[in-house]
Symmetry: C2
Subunit: 648 residues, 2 copies
């Protein structure tokens, strides 16, 4: 057994670069020496036991390092991060080195057992968990303080010595992936498993959700088309559409949970144990003893944080909301002005002018969302949350509330204050389409174009006519390190969330919204795929078991849309005509229907199981096995005792 | 080490009877011999390794057996059931025999380390897990089939050979407990920890909830009294009361979760791992292979069960609901008749007669609830659910829906169809008070009186003037085996649930309901305590971490009460007068307020953490420790590998 891997751990002959570390220009020699020593040092000495090599380019050494690891080291790392892999008997189990032979496709010489993304995730995990021992500071930088247990990489990052860490692309794999993903126009599913292997679970799950959501919108779009084509405006048809819409949106959100469980079970993340959450990099405070871990680490009073949240952040958000409403009122003035202008000089130009205020407003909304986004990030990071998850939740809450109001306030105003259904339809269409065009442009096409221009210039400078495939490692690293950094799925989910709002909040007024959403999402899949493969640096894989807080956000939106749609239908003149005698009866009926729909929604959400039956069975089987194993332990211990008793 | 416990396991000198097994009269000798052999047999041979003794009375052996266990056996059993106990450093940890020295109050000769209730729970668990090996049937009873892995005790119970298994009371402890619990009139909390030690967590948690709920109702009662005393009928005062009521009911339900976490953390059940759920005793089907456990066990098609549920149970429940509504209409006829009678001959008698229909109806409701309860139990058990939890959920759902309609339909009818607030108040009061009196009587006083009479006769027959304390073991067993069986906390929670409905659904019409609820609950604590200590057999302890589905039931009730109270306030003439011009505005305002209140409710439920901060910290600490232990394992393994590498 020992022979089979002993050479692997020592031989660097098959060093495969996985992760790139870029240090700042002019980093002191002693720092570099200390850092690289800690990275290669044995685990027993508190090192990360990884392999590291400086990148040698034409201009000599550039403070760029390539990190890799031996096969054995990666397998042990896989156990440390708690990876779940498929066994030979098709069940999913947590990988351990000692049980490695039971896993599917495992062989001591099969270096593809772990995907490249998994290897990179393991290396990232090991680097981040490289902790200070008795160092008081980073050698050469007395102002960069360390204390026992502090993550060295995080301190290097916050003190600016470490510029970035990013995983390398695999040109060959990427080419294969991009060909099967967006390279050819085809009707079919995305290669989600391949995306997961290359980019990790978080990103694959986003694309899975995007695809699922697009398919789920198709029935709504199909039902919506005849409303537009035949200009159906009857009350009963709208009611049918809205009711279908409401129930459908509940069903798709519940079914997504099941789909998500199927995907993440297959990928192993459904079973993966949550890692203990370390403080986020930006967290600062006075050194103290953490009561949970017993380790020395920065502490920040929870009361101070609460004060910052309620006395600064909350008023700021309210102010922004007020400002957003103020801008909305300006938009209505503009709208009025355009209408007056059109009435005065009825021309083609003036009727085009009718759309201008909406378009301007849509652009302004996107700009305000963008600026607010930065402000929210600044504020949330100033609130100094200890955990990344708490930071993310506060950020998402801030952004969601503002974006919701910013995007939909004008529509609510038009619908429920002005009672102008024609204007509502027109505004909704303009806002939806403008924001989709802007998003596609700003998110993918612009960066792609910039990247392409930059690449062209780079290549020209290198005076070579090589294609991407033939690039040397040094050239590849140099090109990738200048690429933008993908900041996570937040913006992509937010876009879908707002789109879901446009589609469902006023669905009974504008059934065509679903059609536009479907069309947008089909191109969105392509442009997002392009963005991931060509525009940004490869992101580190991030295991995840679900879409987290977004599930709640979408469900909340679907509850709100029940209310808005019921009111809209209640306000329509056709329904009005059904209750000629008493407006009171009308309102009561609408309220009753609304409550019934909400009750049905909640009962449906309760009745539909979150996991499909076969996944439930598989999970139950695993649970049963681990309980049995425990019992076996107790029984073995008992037998041992009996044995001792007898032979005493 | 071996010396210290070797004699414990073999010596029966200090045999302490814990559990009583009563076999049917005339059970065959070979069966008894086989069963007792299996019970005392070593674990290694598939036995339970417990101690058993026949009970010898004046009339000779009566097929009653006493079961006990050695101290060591109980400790190993505690590990097998996963008991969580307090350590010397005040943290709660899962008990294991090997780490026994780290636990508080542990000593090899301290037989009080495990409470008697815990010992009895362990014995029950071990008896239930005594499984058939290669027996094809119970010896002597060829019709009582067995298959490998079938629980022997469950088969004996279902085939009627085993009459009952119950834990013995501890006369001395019981006397102490009942003295501190209800023996003296005092203002103060119940001795919840002592109750938990004697009766187990499920029952202690019920009494904890009852106490908490009573305290939580006091503010509502206090605010309600002046409404009655000063006969306040102003609109604004009612609105204040109702709003307070709604927010308060949300707060108390959320805070209860925190209280519950504090209690169950202290009792160790919050940390206790869920045991794998075996099929319930009544479950039957064709033998097959369970895909989860891989064991042979009865299988029953899920489709057949669904058919039974939807084609038989559901229509039956609907029929019962219809019948309940029919009875309600008869009640209204009676009510009308009483009113007419009162109008014709205005006398004291006739004004008393006004209350008679309500009282009769209240009695009829209780009777219908009782009959329906039996029908629901029969139906749910006929549905043949595999798991006890699924059986319980279906039973609770059936009973809750019917009881809700049966109790509250007439009130809803009076409030929202007849619009008669005076009658609503009168009906509510009569229903509430009558049902409380009936419940107290049927639940505690009647059984207590029957039990007392029976005991007196028993003693007379035994021709002795001994007090309870001096009873011999045989006399105690004979007395206890005739006592009623406590059927669980279902009825007690149901009573509280309906009471919560009476208090909150129409709180703005009858603020005094909370006062009656508080008074009832104070006596309820005493009568329930009496019932537990004197009327029923001691129940087996059942570890639990929360009140389960009842939390959801109470929360649903509080959501419904927001809706009803808003409508009631909207209908009051005072509010009506505020909107003289348009009824429409009134309804819209009410609907708006209702949605706001519901939104506030959900946000509050979301914002208030389910566990107090210190419990969260303790749980985080435990999680951190177990993760660290895992890491240490990986690290140790890694070092071992390094060592091998170096020395190769």
């Amino acid at each position: 057994m020992v022979e089979s891997w002993s050479f692997l751990d020592t031989a660097e002959s098959n060093f495969r670069p996985l992760v790139v570390i870029e240090l700042a220009k002019g980093t002191k020699e002693e720092t570099i020496e200390w850092f690289t020593k800690r990275i290669v040092d044995k685990k027993a000495n508190g090192g990360a036991q990884l392999l590291i090599k400086p990148l040698v380019t034409e201009n000599g050494v550039e403070n760029i390092y390539l990190v890799g690891a031996s096969h054995l080291r990666l397998l042990l790392g896989a156990e440390a991060v708690g990876l779940v892999k498929e066994c030979s008997d098709n069940s999913m189990r947590t990988f351990t080195y000692s049980s490695r032979k039971t896993f599917k496709h495992f062989a001591d010489d099969n270096h593809d057992f772990l995907t490249m993304a998994e290897c990179q995730y393991i290396i990232k995990h090991e680097l981040e968990n490289l902790r200070a021992k008795d160092e008081k500071m980073i050698p050469g930088y007395p102002q960069a303080k360390l204390y026992p247990g502090k993550s060295i990489v995080r301190r290097l990052l916050t003190s600016g010595i470490l510029v970035q860490i990013f995983p390398l692309h695999d040109r060959e794999e990427l080419k294969k992936l991009s060909h099967s993903w967006y390279g050819r126009v085809k009707i079919g599913y995305q290669p989600l498993d391949d995306i997961r292997c290359y980019f990790g679970e978080t990103i694959a799950l986003y694309f899975g959700f995007l695809e699922y959501f697009t398919f789920a919108l198709i029935p709504m779009a199909v039902i919506g088309i005849p409303y537009y084509v035949f200009a159906w405006e009857d009350y009963d048809k709208y009611v049918i559409f809205a009711t279908f819409n409401l129930l459908w949106s509940t069903v798709i959100l519940e079914v997504w949970k099941r789909m998500c469980a199927i995907l993440t079970y297959r990928w192993g993340t459904l079973l993966m144990k949550r890692q203990f959450e370390e403080p986020r990099p930006g967290f600062h405070g006075v050194l103290g003893i953490n009561p949970v871990t017993g380790r020395e680490e920065p502490m920040y009073s929870s009361i101070k944080r609460q004060l910052r949240i309620y006395l600064v952040s909350l008023p700021f958000v309210c102010l922004c909301l007020y400002f957003s409403l103020y801008v909305m009122m300006i938009y209505f003035d503009l709208e009025q002005w355009a209408l007056d202008y059109h009435k005065e000089n009825e021309s083609n130009f003036s009727s085009l002018m009718l759309y201008v205020p909406s378009i301007i407003y849509a652009v302004v909304i996107e700009i305000m969302n963008l600026i607010y986004r930065y402000a929210a990030e600044f504020l949330t990071s100033w609130e100094n949350h200890r955990l990344e998850s708490s930071y993310q939740n506060h950020l998402i809450l801030k952004v969601l509330v503002f974006n919701f109001l910013n995007c939909f306030a004008s529509l609510f105003y038009i619908a429920f204050v002005m009672f102008d259904m024609k204007l509502l339809r027109q505004s909704l269409a303009t806002l939806l389409i403008t924001s989709q065009i802007l998003n596609q442009f700003a998110e993918s096409l612009l960066p792609y174009w910039l990247q392409k221009r930059y690449n062209r210039r780079m290549k020209k400078r290198m005076c070579s006519k090589k294609t991407d495939m033939d690039l040397s490692l040094a050239e590849q690293v140099n090109m990738e390190k200048e690429m933008g950094t993908y900041l996570g799925t937040f913006d992509d989910y937010l876009e879908l969330f707002l789109q879901f709002g446009y589609v469902s909040l006023f669905s009974c007024v504008y059934p065509l919204a679903a059609v536009f959403a479907v069309l947008n999402n089909i191109t969105e899949i392509y442009s997002d795929a392009l963005k991931m493969c060509r525009v940004y640096k490869r992101p580190f894989a991030e295991p995840t078991a679900n879409i987290g807080v977004w599930q709640l956000a979408f469900e909340t939106m679907s509850v709100i849309s029940v209310v808005t749609n019921c009111i809209l239908i209640g306000m329509s003149p056709e329904v009005d005509a059904l209750f000629p005698d008493s407006k009171m009866d009308l309102v009561l009926t609408v309220a009753l229907v609304e409550h019934l729909l909400l009750a049905i929604k909640f009962i449906m959400a309760f009745v539909i199981p979150d996991k499909p039956r076969d996944i439930q069975m598989k999970l139950a089987k695993l649970e049963f096995e681990s309980l049995e194993a425990l019992k076996q332990q107790v029984r073995a211990f008992q037998m041992q005792l009996n044995f001792l008793l007898i032979h005493h």
